[in-house]
């Protein structure tokens, strides 16, 4: 562990990963945690491209999906005893094929960053997604392909029939992959990826081909996306075209962005938040995708450095011991902000519902009555005004909390 700075953070991460099932042990919770472990690896691998390397990809699901398909094929081969090894190693198979796909596609797509790279990634994404429907002997057409993870040699008696067993496999893999992705950022290749992101031209004048620097990040990113695909295959035991198409590519972009591209932990936060929204919110509202979209828009507009950036913003105030100055203004702005959100969501849901009585929080609202609408609109308007007014005070408090003390100015 001496390899890692702040080893206590890593130990805490590992303990959290392994300890979560002791706290949340329902079938739903285990299933969500499996998805989170997969999403963390996938989102971190995406951030190697966008956050660390400045490559905006619209087709990252390709490496995830190809890794996943190969992994399901490997499961099938294990089932028919063509290959004999423990399914523990399946994510590695996904990783190797993610890497191979990365080497092949990266060889021509990393020539330039920016729009050219983005367009090529979009094109490749569409190409692979379309091909997967055409070459149905390998990809299984729209139904996809499925395997069975309970074959092959058992591991100390575990046959991985239970989801909880797969969770531990996924958690350990996610931990290992996270450690290696972090270590990559601490190497010359990882640092030069940042340098090329910031200024590809200058990187060339200090001796580095910006193309080759991008290529290395791209391949590494493909490797880890493939590992995530392998974990997906183990968890669900099937995979379809949906897992390598543009929707999946879009989702991983959202995770990394909402979490915060500039911070290593950002995509982890994004993966957790989006997976939770996806799994929990979808139970309550058919419109959860709309809320996700609104959240993305608000993040782009007001928190361009994501959730992680929002937390890190408070570093200075924290160091100066001024956090308490911010608590009150945050509450004063926070309460009307929550009220506003609650009313807007009620209005959106009401315009969508066909029921006569609309159950919302503890209330029973009547969508047919204009009074309901007027009251909600009124509260929303008032809350919005209150937020706007209190933002000024919040801003002042922020300035004071972050102000440079007199003695430091000189």
């Amino acid at each position: 562990m001496a390899l890692l700075k702040n080893s206590s953070i890593w130990i805490a991460f590992l303990v959290t990963l392994l300890g979560l099932p002791l706290v949340f042990d329902s079938i739903l919770a285990i299933s969500i945690m499996n998805q989170i472990a997969i999403a963390i690896v996938f989102a971190l691998s995406y951030n190697m491209l966008l956050g660390q390397g400045g490559m905006l990809s619209f087709g990252h699901a390709v490496y995830f999906g190809l890794g996943g398909f190969l992994s399901v094929h490997a499961l099938i081969l294990i089932e028919f005893e063509t290959m004999v090894f423990s399914i523990l190693w399946i994510p590695l198979i996904g990783g190797v094929f993610g890497l191979l796909a990365g080497v092949f596609i990266g060889s021509f797509s990393t020539h330039k960053a920016g729009t050219v790279f983005a367009m090529i990634s979009l094109g490749i994404g569409e190409l692979i997604a379309a091909s997967s429907l055409i070459f149905s002997s390998f990809f299984g057409g729209e139904a996809g392909i499925s395997g069975d993870r309970t074959f092959g040699p058992t591991f100390f008696g575990f046959d991985f029939a239970q989801n909880i067993e797969i969770y531990y496999v996924a958690a350990v893999w996610a931990f290992i992959a996270t450690v290696f992705m972090y270590l990559f950022t601490q190497t010359p290749a990882g640092r030069m990826a940042n340098a090329v992101r910031d200024n590809p031209e200058r990187a060339e004048f200090v001796g580095y081909s910006s193309r080759k620097v991008r290529f290395i990040s791209f391949c590494a990113s493909g490797l880890f996306a493939g590992i995530a695909g392998g974990l997906f295959a183990l968890n669900y035991e099937f995979i379809t075209e949906e897992n390598l198409n543009a929707a999946t590519s879009g989702r991983v972009l959202l995770m990394a962005y909402i979490g915060g591209l500039g911070y290593f932990i950002g995509p982890i936060i994004g993966a957790v938040v989006l997976t939770l929204m996806n799994s929990l919110l979808s139970n309550y509202s058919e419109l959860w995708m709309l809320y996700l979209g609104i959240m993305f828009l608000l993040t782009v507009m007001f928190l361009p450095r994501g959730f992680a950036g929002f937390f890190m913003m408070h570093q200075l105030a924290w160091i100066r011991g001024n956090m308490k100055m911010l608590i009150k203004p945050y509450i004063i702005t926070g309460i009307p902000a929550v009220l506003f959100a609650v009313c807007v969501i009620a209005l959106i849901e009401m315009s969508h519902t066909e029921d006569e009585v609309f159950h919302y929080l503890a209330l029973e609202l009547n969508p047919a009555s204009p009074i309901t609408w007027i009251v909600l609109l009124g509260i929303a308007g008032g809350a919005f005004y209150a937020v706007k007014r209190s933002l000024l005070q919040l801003n002042d408090a922020w300035e004071t909390a972050n102000a440079i003390p007199k003695e430091e100015e000189a």
Binding site: T187, R191, M192, R197, D198, N199, R202, F205
Partner: protein
């Protein structure tokens, strides 16, 4: 012996000739200044030598090897480093990281993804040493994009000299600096280019005449004179090109 030699180098952009046949030998160890009016092609000439632009015709040899039309990174690896007129740094990285990135190749790290930077004591010490030289030690962890202008210029210079290249090319290293800042920078340039070859583009004639062993005058894409500072000052062709702007003292 010439460390760098240009033979009839030409550069066109479309039908516009920017460099119209430049031949120049830079002697190993000399401090060479290139001066000339705005738009003469000084920066273009730098870009041609350092590989940012391809030449239209002619050839450039560095340490006997042809470097025309080679990519910048290959030329940089041979020991030719340069700075830019407009600050050109890794703006989202810290000052220390900027310098460390400039050191990787010369310290044989290549594209390594198996060396952990925290453990490379020699590399980190070398980076701190460069920071000391350029006077940015206390800004090591500071985001480089948020430095004051003069400090960014110092960093710009630091990135160029970090690798210990034999030939250093500086494009207006003191542009926009106050008088005292410029003086400090000149001292720094003198110190770090000791025993090395320097090519410098500069508008401040006092600095040029102070630092340079030889001066080339570039006018409309052609070198009209290459000589010692005294002879350049006395050259009627140069005086004509500058309309008497060459300082007499």
């Amino acid at each position: 012996m010439a460390i760098l030699s240009l033979v009839d180098v030409k550069k066109n952009f479309g039908i516009t000739e920017i460099i119209r046949g430049v031949s120049l030998d830079i002697v190993e160890g000399e401090k060479h200044a290139i001066i000339g009016p705005n738009g003469a092609g000084k920066s273009t000439l730098f870009h041609l030598i350092s590989g940012r632009y391809n030449v239209t015709a002619g050839n450039i040899r560095f340490k006997e090897e042809h470097i025309e039309n080679k990519p910048p990174y290959e030329i940089a690896r041979m020991g030719l480093a340069r700075s830019f007129q407009v600050t050109n740094i890794f703006s989202r990285m810290s000052v220390f990281e900027n310098i460390r990135c400039a050191l990787f190749w010369s310290m044989d790290y290549g594209y390594s993804f198996w060396h952990l930077l925290g453990r490379q004591t020699e590399l980190n010490d070398a980076a701190m040493h460069v920071l000391e030289q350029i006077g940015l030690t206390d800004k090591a962890k500071f985001p480089s994009g948020e430095l004051a202008y003069a400090q960014q210029r110092a960093l710009e210079l630091g990135i160029a000299i970090a690798s210990g290249a034999e030939l250093i090319m500086l494009d207006e290293p003191v542009a926009g600096m106050s008088h005292s800042e410029a003086q400090n920078t000149v001292e720094l340039i003198r110190k770090i280019t000791e025993g090395k070859t320097l090519i410098m583009v500069e508008h401040d004639m006092n600095i040029v005449f102070d630092v340079a062993d030889r001066i080339s005058v570039l006018v409309y894409g052609e070198i009209i004179a290459t000589d010692s500072p005294e002879n350049i000052r006395a050259n009627p062709k140069v005086q004509e090109a500058y309309l008497g702007e060459v300082p007499s003292a």
